[in-house]
């Protein structure tokens, strides 16, 4: 008996977007970006109406004046690149990263103490997961050195490694930070490798000697700051309730004027009532002089009183779009714009990342708390339930594997049909835990926002690729560390 199978083509998995009167595809299983020409667009539009056989596609293209050999070649090209396919188009399961994935970055929480009491703090606020009772408040030198040794051992094979200092307020343990910079530099140099550093601070304790040290050692600085005085002072307050703006402002100006070796970045947390994105950006970029400003909505359970309401979030998104448009204008003139959120996404789009996990936590990056406990990242510092071992005893491979298995994109059912998954991969493990009580849960509360933002950045990408492609190269080597 002869069985005839009727082959028909259908669309592959991609997200279409248009920019500058051109059409593009973001090919989801790969993370690839293509500009498509008119005949290719014709095939895609035809398949948008339903499946079609090879013959039907050939006829469609012939009607558009295409010669048969060219049409055949076009169909072959689209099929080869998986823009179109036949049969069921099932998402390809991403492979696991190798078990011996080398560590690259260590985030050292050198203290869990802080001189501010920001009301939304994930470490001390109402959504905290840390259990610091009975643990050291400051990392000691022996633990810190053991952490550096651990990093060096676990990163074997990598030429360059990275250490981020974090807190609490990082600068409350500045003496240790200084010792560790010296120690890590000596150790890496002895192995013929390099190390670079960054730190996050609230800027209240910056002094000229500290700034000189940071500049001399090329330590990247991210300042947590929420904007002009009345916005900063809303939640970034001392224990007394007094705002911190007046203290940090002159110190940051001094920092920016005197730290010339690395970009100085502001990291803004958007909360209820602190959603004036454009105004905050203008203040931090133009008035204060930060090189870059990045924004993120606060991590919170949905009931937290500082959580952003739906209506405010719409306004945040609209303002993100306005700044993104400005970013594009700058880019087309070959100028750098300081809106980090666009720059970070673009650097990932250039690579065409297709993430198995939302970030490097537990994989190429680990956090280490003041006690020497290892965690997936700094956000889990001092949280017993999330410990992955200790710098003295090493990584608990079983716990690490459990964390990574849960956080893998293949384990997130909701993500399987989302075109933004190569970049998002379900979003922050910590945020997922705070929201849903499970680090492996997809962050469903911001899916629409992520898709909207990814689409916006793709359109920017398309426009820059069309009119000023060389500009994209500036972002090729950028490390999207957050």
């Amino acid at each position: 008996m002869n069985v005839t199978i009727k082959h028909s083509y259908r669309r592959g998995e991609f997200h279409q977007f248009a920019s500058s009167d051109r059409r593009f595809l973001y090919l989801v299983p790969a993370g690839a970006i293509f500009e498509i020409d008119d005949p290719a667009a014709r095939v895609i539009d035809r398949l948008g109406k339903g499946t079609a056989s090879h013959q039907e596609l050939m006829e469609e293209l012939a009607a558009a004046g295409m010669e048969a050999p060219d049409a055949h070649e076009l169909i072959g090209e689209l099929f080869g690149a998986r823009v179109i396919g036949s049969g069921e188009i099932a998402p390809t399961a991403l492979a696991n990263p190798p078990d011996d994935f080398p560590l690259q970055s260590l985030v050292m929480n050198i203290t869990n103490q802080c001189n501010l009491s920001c009301t939304y703090c994930y470490e001390f606020g109402q959504d905290k997961i840390a259990t610091p009772q009975g643990k050291p408040k400051y990392m000691d030198l022996a633990t810190a050195k053991a952490a550096v040794d651990f990093l060096l051992k676990q990163s074997a094979g990598r030429k360059a490694i990275h250490i981020t200092f974090f807190g609490g307020e990082t600068l409350m343990n500045f003496p240790l930070l200084k010792d560790i910079v010296t120690y890590a530099k000596e150790k890496t140099a002895a192995e013929g490798r390099t190390v670079d550093f960054s730190l996050t601070t609230n800027a209240t304790l910056l002094t000229p000697p500290i700034v000189a040290f940071l500049s001399e050692n090329e330590i990247g600085v991210t300042v947590s700051m929420d904007g002009p005085a009345e916005l900063q002072d809303k939640r970034r307050v001392y224990k007394s309730g007094k705002g911190s703006y007046a203290v940090v402002e002159p110190r940051i100006r001094h920092l920016i004027a005197n730290h010339r070796t690395r970009a100085i970045t502001a990291r803004v947390t958007l909360t209820d009532g602190v959603t004036d994105v454009v105004r905050i950006y203008r203040h931090l970029k133009d008035d204060i002089g930060f090189h870059e400003v990045g924004f993120a909505p606060v991590t919170s359970s949905s009931e937290a009183d500082y959580a952003i309401t739906g209506k405010d979030m719409d306004s945040v998104v609209a303002q993100f779009h306005a700044l993104a448009d400005e970013w594009l204008e700058y880019a087309l003139q070959g100028r750098m714009h300081g809106f980090t959120n666009v720059s970070d996404t673009l650097s990932e789009l250039i690579q065409g990342v297709n993430k198995s996990h939302p970030c490097g936590a537990g994989l190429g990056l680990l956090g280490v708390g003041p006690s020497g406990d290892l965690t997936p990242c700094h956000r889990f510092a001092d949280a017993d339930a999330h410990t992955l071992g200790h710098v003295n005893t090493g990584l608990d491979r079983a716990k690490q594997s459990d964390f990574l298995t849960k956080g893998h994109i293949n384990a997130k059912y909701d993500c399987q049909t989302c075109w933004a998954r190569p970049l998002c991969a379900g979003g922050c493990h910590h945020e997922a835990f705070v929201r849903y009580g499970d680090t492996g849960h997809a962050n469903l509360h911001y899916c629409d926002w992520i898709r909207d933002w990814t689409d916006k950045c793709l359109r920017i990408y398309g426009a820059v690729a069309a009119h000023n492609p060389g500009f994209l190269e500036k972002f090729a080597e950028r490390k999207a560390l957050s």
Binding site: F34, I36, P39, A40, L74, E77, G80, I350, Q351, Y461
Partner: protein, 112 residues
């Protein structure tokens, strides 16, 4: 690629792979070692041993005898020139051939 313009690293990688595929048909037909026999491509890919050869280029090591070939052409494979049409005109053609490897001599010619 003519109709897709690769705009990021991943897209360029796809472009490279597709361009290298262009040469593959020829590559498959060329033995990497000129001393090895020429192995034709065809039904053998569907694990249906017939006119392909074994690893040595002969027929001695096939997992099924070459005679099995006749039924591949007759039933499962559309190759009408080689065997009688069993659907309409010669439904009884293979009736005497119960086991192809033993009874293949009982298959006769047909004269339409």
């Amino acid at each position: 690629m003519k109709h897709l313009r690769a705009l990021n690293k991943k897209a360029r990688r796809i472009d490279e792979i597709l361009s290298s595929n262009d040469a593959d048909v020829v590559a498959l037909q060329q033995s990497p070692n000129p001393n090895r026999p020429h192995v034709p491509m065809g039904c053998s890919l569907a694990f249906s041993p017939g006119w392909e050869v074994d690893a040595a280029g002969g027929t001695a090591g096939l997992c099924q005898p070459v005679e099995r070939d006749i039924y591949d052409c007759y039933v499962t494979c559309f190759w009408p020139a080689q065997v009688p049409d069993h659907v309409n005109n010669y439904p009884d053609w293979a009736d005497k051939c119960a086991v192809a490897t033993k009874d293949w001599r009982k298959l006769d010619l047909v004269f339409p």
